[in-house]
């Protein structure tokens, strides 16, 4: 029969849809639409009830018909097939390079389906076979034999079996059959149709090739622009055409979905009322991509991915876990602060242990009354291998224990139901063979990735966005076809690696020729969808030119080029977008951002500032404000190995312990190097003992512990292999030299406080790492540095670091208790840095050696502190690295500062 377009096609079909006639369609969308049309026509005649028309997809009917034959053999489920492929691959192992995994089985399954559909022998052809093809042939034979043993067959074989049953007369058939839209059936379908025709009247209604009244070709600069333009057209069309009469067909729909969803969301009302629909996108999202599902998988992933902190935290913070959601995310999240502070990134027991010891209150929040988190999660680890059904049971029990899922809306409900039904399939189909947790996770993930969930919308109301296949046989008033560029139509050739060349030439989509033929047919049918069709394509994407599809030139007499310029040529459709409305309003005014902070009022500064706080204020008052006044710090970053801060702390600790003990034991005086080195080792071990671990170097995980072990090696030198001196042994040698020169270690970690001046609004306190004394050369106040130390000029001229001047001043003012005797005479007092970065660069850097004068420096320094103090006291905490910015450079001051987003410095440019 010949029709002009799909409308005629549908009318012709509806005219034969009588009770007793079975209509079989090639796709579900067409079947549903025909049913809708039928319903509408019945209602139009005033009927209140009617028998449902017998319109089904071929696949649905085949299964139904087969069931009614009561055959002793049955089509296997998808999961059973995968399990069979697995079993078969253990008998016929795959080539070494191929892992016998789910993806391989999936690929085999697809190849099997393709071969069967095309009526090709699965066991081989006469062509010479490569080892890969040979393997495929063998494994497929094995698969078939195993399926037979189970009294089953691959679902792809259903049409073959059904054909035989029809011929044998065991299939109940209707009075008449109509075949709709089967222009190019696969060979096995063709055989099935022939068998049907031999026993009952069959009429075929093929899709027409269309010649629309109007056809436009529009080229847009990019995909985003293409969709922006489409949106304009659609909303304007909607003024005159009922929405459901407008279709948008997108051959490469996956690529376009994000663009379309966003643009439609921004310009069209998304109705809250479920009786309304603005648009409907035919493909849904994958079930595995739903939040509920991802949240549900967390416990499995936690174990299969090495118990990472991030996944545990994600589970605790997930809104789907009722147990913790009830406690409140804000509170539970603080657990992460503890983990970060202890450098813990993985391991359930370490994570929980540190929490228990550091924050029992937080720890308690994680456990339910019935069982602890460790017990609840532990169930997954009790036995390494179980059947799929058992894993499902364990997972469900865990979920139940922790209140999963907390459902919030319809979408969640849908996802949960689908998830449960997939688990049900696993429970039914994987009852016997044992699998690891990883395998179970793999199977579950695979099934979840196969399942599409439709996003809300109606097929009979709202603008219809669909893929090429779904559009078959549908009819619209206006149709847009998007993305007609290279690779969209025809699609790239399917690789099908398990087919040989001869087979590929027989299989649809496996050669450029067949892809083209298919695309050509599809395009011709597409043109029958509407009288008014607009084809669009992007000229380029990511600055890469995109050539048009070959059908473009065929259909478009003259293409037009447009651009959408929302900013300079705004239009009425995009004027609907709330963001654009807001932005336009914003453009009309000019804002100063960041606004200047007024002076902060109130009692701001503590009476005493530590030297390190003062150092921060010197670099940047705003940073000082945030850290010292607001007490706000960034989250600890997890660094692989040892954090520089922690490294410095521990080093300080060893040095302090060591010099102190040396003095106590009189080792310093004796300069007994072996004994001193032994002591150094003892002190190192002591400094490395954890605050919360069990005799290990630290409470960290294995990697952290190992890093500290290495650190000890770095300190003490390598004992094996190449002899490299240790950082501390090297340091010890230098110290011994100094002891020889007559220096004495007086004190370590000496505190001082109350350092002040009438012009300062605060007093300064501090702690000096070490103080050395020499009869002639005087006192030196040392600061240990495990990294670079500031230059002499930075300290003395530019006053970039207030530390040493503060120490010297404190000493001069006799604020450091304990060495009054040494201070009796007019003694030279100086300060400096002992740098311990690498063994080859251990240095003692005295800033002003004997003979030099500190007075000038200190005077200048006190003035600088006074001026800074005045500023801080008046509440001026501007984000200006001050007063040394010129010296260190603002860039540098800000480079490693994490407060950039607060101070507004980034914005100022």
């Amino acid at each position: 029969m010949v029709y002009q377009n799909n409308k005629g096609f549908q009318n012709a079909l509806l005219s034969v849809c009588q009770p007793g006639t079975l209509t079989l369609t090639s796709g579900g969308r067409l079947a549903r639409h025909l049913k809708h049309q039928y319903r509408a026509s019945e209602m139009a005649t005033g009927k209140m009830g009617w028998p449902s028309p017998d319109i089904l997809t071929l696949n649905a009917w085949s299964l139904e018909a087969w069931n009614m034959t009561w055959s002793l053999i049955r089509p296997l489920s998808h999961l059973s097939c995968l399990a069979l492929w697995k079993e078969a691959s253990s008998r016929i192992p795959p080539p070494e390079m191929f892992l016998p995994d789910l993806k391989l089985f999936q690929a085999l399954d697809e190849t099997y389906t393709v071969l069967i559909r095309h009526g090709l022998p699965t066991g081989g052809s006469s062509a010479p076979a490569t080892p890969l093809i040979q393997w495929r042939q063998e494994i497929m034979q094995t698969f078939e034999a195993m399926a037979m043993d189970l009294k089953g067959f691959h679902p792809a074989l259903l049409p073959v079996h059904l054909t035989q049953a029809i011929i044998a007369g065991t299939v109940r058939l209707p009075a008449a059959i109509v075949l709709a839209a089967f222009e190019a059936p696969a060979p096995i379908e063709e055989a099935l149709f022939d068998s049907l025709a031999s026993v009952c009247p069959v009429r075929r209604f093929d899709l027409p090739a269309g010649t629309p009244e109007k056809i436009n070709g529009v080229v847009m600069p990019s995909r985003t622009q293409e969709v922006a333009w489409l949106t304009q057209q659609l909303v304007m069309d909607a003024q005159t055409v009922p929405l459901n009469r407008i279709g948008v067909v997108v051959p490469d729909i996956e690529t376009y979905i994000p663009y379309i969803t966003q643009a439609f969301g921004e310009t069209m009302e998304v109705p809250l009322d479920q009786t309304l629909s603005s648009h409907n996108i035919s493909i849904g999202t994958l079930l595995v991509e739903r939040s509920l599902v991802q949240a549900g998988l967390l416990p499995l992933r936690f174990w299969t991915q090495g118990e990472p902190r991030t996944l545990l935290l994600s589970m605790l913070l997930s809104p789907y876990y009722g147990l913790w959601a009830a406690t409140g995310r804000d509170r539970i999240a603080r657990a992460d602060c503890v983990w970060r502070a202890h450098g813990l990134d993985a391991g359930l027991s370490s994570l929980l242990h540190v929490l228990l010891s550091q924050s029992p209150g937080l720890f308690a929040l994680l456990n339910s009354e019935e069982q602890t988190l460790e017990q609840a999660l532990g169930v997954f680890m009790q036995t390494p291998a179980r059947t799929g059904a058992e894993w499902v049971h364990i997972l469900e029990r865990f979920w139940e224990a922790v209140g999963f899922p907390v459902i919030s809306d319809e979408a969640d409900t849908g996802a949960w139901q689908r998830l449960r039904s997939i688990l049900h399939c696993i429970r039914e189909d994987l009852k016997t063979a044992d699998m690891s947790l990883g395998d179970f996770m793999g199977v579950l993930h695979h099934l979840l990735s196969e399942e599409l969930v439709h996003i809300r919308g109606s097929e009979e109301a709202g603008i219809q966005v669909l893929g090429l296949i779904e559009s078959r046989g549908l009819s619209f008033e206006k149709l847009y076809v998007l993305g007609l560029s290279d690779g969209s139509l025809p699609r790239p050739v399917r690789p099908l690696p398990f087919l040989d060349m001869w087979e590929r030439h027989k299989v649809r989509g496996a050669t450029a020729e067949s892809q083209y033929t298919f695309a050509q047919e599809a395009f011709r049918h597409l043109l029958a969808c509407a009288p008014d069709i607009t084809l669009t394509r992007p000229a380029e994407e990511s600055a890469e030119p995109l050539a048009p599809s070959p059908f473009w030139a065929e259909a478009v007499a003259e293409e037009t080029r447009h651009t959408v310029d929302l900013w300079n040529a705004p239009d009425r459709v995009w004027a609907r977008a709330a963001w654009l409305q807001q932005a336009k309003k914003g453009l009309e005014r000019t804002a100063v951002f960041p606004p200047a902070d007024p002076p902060v009022e109130g009692d701001l500064l503590p009476e005493t500032l530590s030297v390190s706080q003062l150092a921060i204020a010197f670099v940047c008052p705003f940073r000082f404000y945030v850290q010292a006044v607001l007490n706000l710090f960034p989250l600890d970053e997890l660094i692989l190995g040892i954090s520089p801060l922690e490294r410095g702390n521990r080093l300080h600790k060893v040095l302090a312990l060591f010099t102190n003990r040396c003095r106590d034991k009189g080792l310093a005086g004796k300069k007994d190097r072996p004994a001193m080195e032994a002591l150094l080792e003892t002190c190192s071990d002591e400094a490395l003992v954890s605050d919360c671990g069990e005799g290990s170097y630290t409470g960290k995980d294995a990697l952290g512990r190992h890093s500290w072990g290495m650190e000890r090696c770095r300190w003490m030198g390598e004992t094996k292999g190449v002899l490299v001196p240790g950082l501390l042994t090297q340091w010890l040698d230098l110290e011994l030299q100094r002891l020889d020169e007559g220096w004495r270690w007086l004190f370590e970690e000496s505190s001082f406080e109350g350092l002040t001046s009438p012009e300062w609004p605060f007093s300064i306190s501090g702690r000096i790492d070490r103080i050395d004394y020499h009869k002639e050369n005087g006192l030196i106040l040392w600061d240990y540095k495990s990294g670079e130390h500031p230059s002499r000029a930075a300290v003395l001229e530019h006053l970039a670091d207030p530390q040493i001047p503060a120490y010297v001043q404190a000493a001069k003012e006799r604020r450091i208790a304990g060495f009054e005797k040494e201070l009796e005479s007019k003694i030279h007092i100086s300060g400096g840095y002992i740098t311990l970065k690498t063994p080859s660069a251990v240095t003692h850097k005295e800033l002003i050696t004997k003979g030099g004068v500190w007075d000038q420096v200190l005077k200048k320094w006190k003035k600088a502190v006074a001026s800074l103090g005045k500023r801080l006291a008046s509440g001026e905490f501007r984000a200006e690295p001050y007063p040394v910015s010129d010296y260190i450079g603002q860039e540098k001051a800000c480079q490693y500062c994490r407060y950039g987003p607060l101070c507004g410095r980034n914005e100022a440019g």
Binding site: R39, M48, G49, P51, N67, L72, M97, F98, D101, K103, Q239, P258, E269, T275, S291, G306, T310, S314, S318, A333, R334, D336, S408, Q417, H424, K431, A461, P497, D500, E513, A543, E544, P545, L546, A547, P548, P550, A553, D565, L566, N568, P570, R572, Q582, A583, K585, T590, P598, E601, G602, V629, L630, L635, G641, L703, M710, C713, K837, P901, E907
Partner: protein, 1121 residues
């Protein structure tokens, strides 16, 4: 019009019977040549897929496809040519179409032609032949950010594995040694390993060597051999240069003279000029010591302690020869001093072995992970593709490609990497000259600037000799040199020829992959060539007028751009090209300051834009309630600003978290209440909706777009929208993971084109990004760029030996705790630096040749008495050397020039939005209802219904099958076999053991039913008016349709019966009556709906429809009254 000077060469290039190697300088129209050859080939091959065109970028593929298909389509539609050149092409295109009548569609379809990137082609091979490729089927190629994730996971796994090993295990020892050498900086070690895994193709043979050689000694020998090769390369160069000097030419006489004078150095200087074997290095070093000073100059002062000469040598006849040694020869000689000799300990082999052991482990772990996840990175892809082609022959190719490749064309051949070169060789395996198969490679070695992507320009040069085929010798290529430059004006070309031919690329050093310069000629040569200099060089230095030279340069640049725009004809386009991004912001700010809109291509990272930083912090805050800094950032953003005073008040509130402090503060401070209200929209949705959606909504609720637009303009809003798009695209549905992915994704995302710059003629981009583009006027600032980064030593160096084999060499950096670099390391550093400079010169060439008409050069220098002094080894240094040595009128030089004063452009008026057009959603034609759903009391209906005296699933399966049996009974009158019932039960998911028993139960049950009178009457097939599984629909109310399948319907005169079969039974201890009552109540709504539906369908009164449940288990009919 006259023909281009290289017309003959161009025609030869279109001889499709021959293979060619074409050197095509900038602007010579090589893409057109490729297109022309492709089309010509099309008209001769048996199938279009016999031609394979390979390039490096998708962009190039897109361009080539568009041109080829465009021409074929034009020929197909019979359109007229627009030029003579096009006429010829169309003629060929027509022939091609006729020739491939059967495959015409392939020619008209871009997808139908084999024009691919190398990677695209590799992927085709790998997908088709996974076994040969040794790759799991269905593997996909990783994006760079995904590769990072897999790499991170692999490193973690590797570290975990290593730490689980016993202390004496080689890998553990290697790990610890290496860690200590890096001063126990684990992140540094991890970076080093990751870097080497990414480059694993470059040194795979070393890994293999270490694995296969029995002891480290052999490994060391292998490395030493390669090192010797490098040294010999340097020796050869120095020797050749020295031999041309007067001293070199008369060396024997010179030596005899020294001997005669009993000069001390006569003892250690060789009598004859040595050869260039590694063992001759010592002799060469002696010559170098004698003749040159430490700083690379010829010795001026000589004496026993100065070069070992006799006392009065300086006055003798040979002194002048020594003093007058040419600079280049002296430099080369001097450079020899530092080279390691064959007896030197080259490198600490144990340390090197440690690194390789570790990296080998990392590679194994990484590749295993890739295999498990069915993914490939680009290195893996290339290696896999090579495997498909085999070492010896490409014959297998036929087994997985549908057509044998007969002709290969390669564009931008100068950017070929070693793997790609091998791929080409393997594709050509078995080819012979004259067998109708051809190769056509085209490129410009002077434009080879992708060493960081493993391009090796030397391969281009090597290919001139032909393509080496395994076991077959060379497949010869005819060399073609193009010369005509269609792009630039003649004076510009002349100046470029001079700069590179005489200075920058004169005397190319092979070891450093420097390439010989080939000049080009302008075509067509216009009659009225401009006389004024077209190249302007502007040098900036600190003096009284200028305190900040970089700012002065930027200001000058902006003002001159403005001037060019005003003075040149409309349509003039301007390219500002940068070697690096260092001063990009400086230039951009200067341009913006005077109101010039600029299109910045891949210049500004979107993540660094301030408005994006705030959105990023918002995403972080919403994800991590404990990230106090992110929460405070949120209230210090353009859309939610609170001042420092209020911050202090909040800080002093009691809750620990800032997220909670803010909640509390909202109760007291309206400005925070506004913020909290917006956040509350998002907070509960985190983890449910996509993070991008949540952030977008909170941002909008805070009037974000307006605030951003007010401060940062449309550009800011565009940046924010791109950020949200990126966030959406990497959504994982686990917010913490999304955030982690975001960091990686943002690394490579640049700010989009600013809406203000939509129609600007000014483009700002890196030189790399400008490759393939052209501009009327080019600005090239920052010529003081120094390609050799000063500073620390990288932990290792990996370079190819300059020998033809190009084998890799690796050397370790110094031990961070103590060390000095080793000789091998110093050698490689020299090689690496030399190559970097070579590439920098080529980059300068690319930059300069982008200009059609004018070129503005600028950079910073030091002001010295002798004039401006450019930083060493910088483009400015090369240019200044050139201008100093070769006076040219084609360039004008200015010192500290001041650009013309330009007033900033007035800000544009904002175009208001028109009234929004209305849009309304459409009502659904009807709602659909299924009465069976009316009984669903909860989500868990199937679990909690009363049908359960057995497991829920079994009850449901039993029900399904019993219904099916009754339907069969009605249609066939026969009960299915028990075996069939059992099989059906199993098909529904019941396990086979249970199924057999249940099947028997069901069969017995149905047989019992058949004996029961009501059932018997119901299924009496002699009474025709029954329907089993009867599907009907009815209008429930306007706009609502009910649909359902009625188990059984029977007409009895004017009465109708609806029977709903129930297979469930009472629970233990429950009486039948009680059970029936319960079930009846339960199904009442459904049955009533059915009653109503059937009445409507039959057009009868509901009273005429009787409805009830039939319990098959105890054969009882229960009518609902």
């Amino acid at each position: 019009m006259t023909l281009p000077p290289d017309n003959e060469a161009r025609e030869l290039a279109l001889d499709i019977t021959q293979s060619h190697h074409v050197e095509a300088p900038a602007g010579s129209g090589k893409t057109m040549l490729l297109v022309a050859r492709f089309i010509k080939l099309l008209s001769h091959v048996g199938h279009p897929h016999e031609i394979l065109a390979l390039t490096f970028t998708n962009k190039a593929v897109g361009e080539m496809k568009t041109r080829i298909v465009g021409l074929l389509q034009k020929a197909h539609s019979g359109l007229q040519p627009t030029s003579r050149l096009e006429a010829a092409l169309l003629e060929n295109a027509k022939e091609a179409l006729e020739h491939h009548e059967a495959h015409r569609f392939l020619l008209l379809s871009p997808e139908g032609l084999q024009v691919m990137t190398f990677h695209g082609f590799c992927y085709t091979l790998v997908k088709r032949a996974p076994l040969d490729a040794e790759v799991p089927p269905e593997s996909v190629v990783l994006e760079e950010d995904e590769q990072e994730l897999v790499l991170d996971e692999s490193i973690r796994e590797m570290l975990h594995d290593i730490l689980s090993m016993p202390e004496e295990a080689a890998e553990r020892r290697a790990f610890e040694n290496r860690l200590l050498r890096l001063n126990n900086r684990l992140p540094a070690l991890v970076d080093e390993i990751k870097d080497l895994v990414r480059k694993r193709d470059l040194f795979s043979d070393l890994v293999t060597a270490l694995r296969t050689y029995p002891g480290l000694g052999d490994f060391e020998t292998a490395l030493a051999r390669r090192t010797g090769g490098v040294v010999e390369g340097f020796l050869k160069e120095a020797s050749e240069a020295f031999k041309t000097t007067s001293l070199g030419q008369r060396w024997d006489a010179f030596w005899s003279h020294l001997k005669e004078k009993v000069a001390p150095n006569a003892h250690f200087l060789p009598e004859n000029l040595p050869e260039t074997a590694w063992t001759d290095l010592a002799a060469w070093k002696a010559i170098s010591e004698a003749l040159t000073t430490k700083d690379g100059k010829p010795r001026q002062q000589t004496g026993p302690t100065m070069g070992g000469f006799y006392k009065r040598f300086g006055k003798g006849p040979w002194a002048e020869h020594v003093r007058g040694l040419p600079a280049e020869a002296t430099r080369l000689l001097c450079d020899l001093k530092d080279l390691p000799g064959p007896d030197a300990s080259l490198t600490d082999i144990d340390t090197l072995a440690d690194l390789i052991i570790l990296v080998a482990r990392a590679i194994t772990t990484y590749e295993r992970r890739c295999r498990q996840q069915h993914v490939l990175d680009f290195v893996g892809l290339e290696q896999a593709a090579l495997k498909t082609l085999g070492e010896e022959t490409a014959s297998d190719l036929q087994l997985f490609l549908d057509h044998r490749i007969q002709h290969i064309l390669v564009d931008e051949f100068q950017d070929t990497s070693r793997s790609q070169w091998t791929l080409i060789q393997r594709l050509c395996a078995g080819w012979a000259p004259g067998d109708a198969r051809t190769v056509f490679v085209v490129g410009d070695p002077k434009q080879s600037v992708y060493a960081f992507r493993k391009a090796e320009v030397r391969l281009f040069l090597a290919a001139k000799n032909g393509i080496p085929l395994s076991g077959q010798g060379l497949l010869p290529l005819t060399n073609i040199q193009l010369e005509a430059n269609f792009r630039s004006q003649a004076p510009l070309i002349t100046w470029t020829n001079q700069l590179f031919g005489r200075t920058a690329m004169a005397d190319p050093k092979g070891a450093f992959d420097e390439v010989p310069f080939q000049a080009s000629t302008a075509y067509p040569r216009p009659q009225d060539e401009p006389q004024t200099p077209l190249v302007s060089l502007n040098i900036f230095f600190k003096d009284n007028s200028i305190s900040s030279p970089p700012e002065a340069e930027a200001e000058y640049l902006a003002q001159t751009v403005q001037q060019v725009l005003v003075q040149r004809p409309a349509g003039t386009n301007i390219g500002i090209l940068l070697f690096t991004r260092n001063r990009l912001y400086l230039y951009l700010n200067a341009l913006r300051k005077i109101g010039l809109a600029v299109r910045v291509k891949e210049g500004l990272k979107v993540a660094e834009q301030p408005e994006v930083v705030h959105l990023y912090q918002m995403a972080t805050a919403l994800t991590r309630p404990h990230d106090d800094l992110a929460w405070v950032s949120l209230v210090r953003s353009p859309w939610a600003w609170i001042d420092a005073n209020l911050l202090l008040k909040i800080a002093r509130m009691s809750p620990v978290s800032w997220s909670q402090k803010l909640k509390l503060a909202a109760e007291q401070h309206p400005e925070i209440e506004r913020i909290e209200r917006a956040i509350d929209l998002g907070r509960p949705r985190v983890g449910r909706d996509s993070l991008a959606q949540v952030v977008r909504d909170v941002w909008m609720a805070l009037d974000g777009p307006a605030m951003v637009a007010a401060r940062f303009g449309a550009e800011g809003v565009t940046n924010c929208r791109l950020f949200l798009e990126v966030l959406e695209s990497i959504e994982t549905r686990i917010p913490e993971e999304t955030l982690l992915r975001l960091d990686i994704a943002l690394e490579t995302i640049y700010a989009p084109e600013s809406p203000d710059a939509a129609s600007t003629p000014i483009d700002l981009m890196t030189v790399h990004a400008a490759k393939g583009l052209e501009f009327d006027v080019v600005f090239l600032p920052f010529l003081d760029w120094r390609p050799l980064a000063v500073g620390h030593h990288p932990p290792y160096l990996l370079e190819r030996s300059p020998e033809p084999s190009g084998l890799p060499l690796i050397a370790m950096g110094p031990d961070r705790r103590i060390g000095e670099p080793e000789p091998a390391y110093r050698l490689l550093k020299r090689l690496a630096n030399g190559r970097k400079l070579g590439e920098a010169k080529r980059l300068l060439y690319v930059a300069i040749t982008r200009a059609r008409k004018e070129l503005y050069l600028s950079g910073l220098a030091k002001n010295t008495k002798l004039g401006p002094k450019a930083p060493k080894d910088s483009p400015l240094a090369w240019i200044l050397t050139h201008t100093a040595n070769h006076d040219t009128e084609l360039i004008s030089t200015s010192l500290n020039p001041v650009g013309p004063m330009v007033a900033p452009e007035k800000t544009k008026q904002v175009k208001p939005l028109p009234d929004p057009v209305p849009f309304e959603a459409q009502p659904l034609p009807y709602l659909f209802e299924t009465p069976s759903k009316l009984v669903d009391t909860s989500l868990y209906a199937q679990v909690t219904t009363k049908e359960e005296t057995e497991p829920a699933e079994h009850a449901a399966i039993r029900g399904t099958i019993t219904h099916r049996i009754i339907e069969t009974l009605w249609h066939n009158g026969e009960l299915p076999q028990t075996a069939s019932i059992s099989s059906a039960l199993a098909a529904e998911g019941m396990n086979p053991g249970t199924a057999a028993a249940v099947a028997q139960e069901i069969a017995d049950e149905v047989i019992a039913c058949q004996k029961e009178p009501f059932f018997k009457w119901l299924l009496d097939r002699t009474l025709p008016d029954g329907k089993s599984e009867y599907a009907i629909e009815a209008v429930k109310a306007p706009g609502t349709i009910q649909a359902g399948v009625l188990d059984f319907v029977k007409q009895d005169g004017d009465r109708w019966w609806i029977v709903d079969f129930k297979t469930s039974r009472p629970e233990a201890g429950q009486g039948e009556t009680e059970f029936i009552k319960e079930q009846a109540e339960y199904y009442l709504p459904q049955l009533r709906a059915y009653q109503d539906m059937l009445a409507k369908e039959k057009g009868v009164d509901t009273a005429q429809v009787r409805v009830g449940l039939y319990f098959t288990g105890f054969q009882q009919w229960h009518e609902i009254g």
